[in-house]
């Protein structure tokens, strides 16, 4: 009778934690310019030198942004797939990236370049665009009570095409420099951010992460079936609304800083479910740790593989993610 009770998979989370911290420490040392660790240490102690400047001013913020972005996108993917009970759902499926892109491209086209609270107009426009899109999709599919999942996905995909046309229109109307800027933004990348921007978005992301963590148990039940969740005492409508809000904040913020970086929100959640099962009490911290480490590593590869060429990481995630995902599907088919 009974048998021992299953606790959280500690080794899995521990390994994720190690990967995360290792990424933070090791990755800034890697790059086209080799860095001497002693020099970095000297820099910390106040003896400024070029190696220290590269480490702290250029690479560390970039790695931090990679960790933050990877964590955010993976978590958003986990939650969207649970909410919509659809394995292909990511914030991007619902048109978030198109909305963000339209915002960003509009800012480029209109040549807006104010600075509000340390954020560029481009970032704010991208954030607004993403958020507006997702709220529109949500509003469209919100029926009398709970949301209609299939309508939401259809609405998202349709809206993506529509926004895509607007984006092409903007491209067509843009001059050469603008086009250059636009294409670069659409590729998605972790280029220069300063610590201030990172610190400023942290509360927003922290709020979303904590909010979603609190909902892990509820998300477990809701990810099976709406009726089942209702009968277990879950306030389905409230949960969906809240989880949607948090994930939208999360994605909107990340997209604003980095542009659309695809596939992270798809690969990491599926990979983790494959490893440890669908329990969100494990998946959520797992997606933060592994997703963060994954994107930071991928970005380091992107800027070192073809050095001195600095590849946008969005290209690499898609190049790796596509085949990987197909392999995963193929495996599942054969099970």
């Amino acid at each position: 009778m009974g048998g021992e009770r299953v606790g959280p998979p500690v080794p899995f989370l521990l390994l994720g934690g190690v990967a995360f911290v290792a990424a933070l420490v090791v990755l800034p040392l890697m790059g086209s310019q080799s860095i001497d660790l002693h020099q970095v240490w000297a820099h910390v102690q106040g003896r400024s030198n070029p190696d220290g400047v590269i480490f702290f001013r250029v690479r560390l913020p970039r790695v931090l942004l990679g960790l933050l972005t990877g964590a955010g996108l993976s978590l958003a993917g986990v939650v969207f797939q649970a909410l919509l009970r659809n394995p292909l759902a990511t914030p991007y499926t619902l048109g978030v990236s198109s909305g963000g892109a339209l915002g960003a491209l509009l800012a480029i086209k209109l040549g807006l370049s104010w600075n509000v609270l340390g954020f560029s107009t481009l970032q704010i426009a991208a954030f607004g665009g993403s958020l507006a899109t997702i709220l529109l999709v949500y509003g469209l599919s919100r029926g009398v009570g709970a949301m209609a999942v299939h309508i939401m996905i259809l609405a998202g995909v349709t809206l993506s095409y529509f926004l895509g046309a607007l984006i092409l229109l903007l491209h067509y109307l843009a001059d050469f420099t603008e086009t250059q800027q636009m294409i670069r933004w659409m590729m998605g990348g972790l280029d220069v951010v300063d610590y201030r921007t990172l610190v400023q978005v942290l509360p927003l992301i922290g709020l979303a992460v904590l909010g979603l963590m609190r909902m892990s148990l509820t998300l477990n039940i809701l990810s099976t079936s709406e009726l089942f969740a209702l009968s277990k005492g879950v306030d389905v409508f409230r949960t969906q609304r809240l989880a949607f809000l948090y994930t939208s904040l999360l994605t909107g913020t990340v997209v604003a800083l980095t542009g659309p970086i695809g596939f992270v929100g798809l690969i990491i959640p599926h990979f983790l479910r494959f490893l440890v099962g669908p329990d969100h009490r494990v998946l959520i911290p797992g997606s933060l740790l592994y997703g963060g480490a994954f994107l930071a590593v991928t970005d380091t590869a992107a800027r070192t593989l073809l050095a001195p060429v600095n590849l946008p990481v969005g290209i690499l995630t898609a190049l790796m993610g596509g085949p990987f995902f197909l392999w995963l599907l193929y495996r599942q088919r054969n099970r």
């Binding site: 009778m1 009974g2 048998g3 009770r5 299953v6 606790g7 649970a82 009970r85 659809n86 394995p87 609190r214 909902m215 892990s216 148990l217 509820t218 477990n220 039940i221 990810s223 099976t224 079936s225 009726l227 089942f228 209702l230 009968s231 277990k232 005492g233 879950v234 306030d235 479910r273 099962g277 669908p278 329990d279």
Partner: protein, 261 residues
Amino acid sequence: MIELRNITFGYGNRPLFDQLSLKILDGEFVGIIGPNGAGKTTLLKLMGGMMRPAAGEVWIHGRLLNRYSRMELARLLAFVPQEFHSLYDYTVEEIVLMGRYAYRRAFEPPGERDWRVAEQAMIRTEVGSLRRRRLSHISGGEKQRVVLASALAQEPRVLLLDEPTGALDLKHQIHFYRILREEQRRSGQTIVTVTHDVNLAVRFCERILVLKEGRIVADGPTETVIQQSVLETVYEIPLTIFPHPEDGKPLVTFGRVGHGR
């Protein structure tokens, strides 16, 4: 007691229930039968607060259903759907522990009592040995018992079941209902089950409610309701009722099929 008072409900422009009233007493084992589209499932969902009537009131244990929070309701009522599908492959134990949701707090692991109740629910539904298996690795009959275990883990006073054995073979149908009956004898829950299988209802239910096009056509003790005249009007086909050779309980089967009426 569950009481429906003058319930009106419809889908879109199609009215289903018009001023329907109904009382279900504590500890009853009620079967709801009737043809497709009669409103059986809808009635069950209205009782369980999974749908709200357009007009009328649902009272549960002397309190208006709207006055209960979702959590309170889940500690009182449990629901077993016809089929349970989950895209995500949880383990048996995880599904059963979900039945403790209404008793738990957000950040805490399941408590001693949660484990104990879940444990008992698994033993009574005979799925204890499957606890570590994932849903994709158990049979349909086992899965329904897991869903029942999850419902029992809610420690409900009322169990609402929507064709719980509709997709099961004969053996698993009987097995499922036996567990249900034992559970009721032990804990005295009220059980309301929707079924297409009249004979199953005859075997296990004390009271049968016959529904057709949103109206209650017959309602009473099983022996009085299971009459050829009643059932033929409801199902609109010739039927034959004869005593079971072993215990004389009514057996219902179709009559001269192919010969018209």
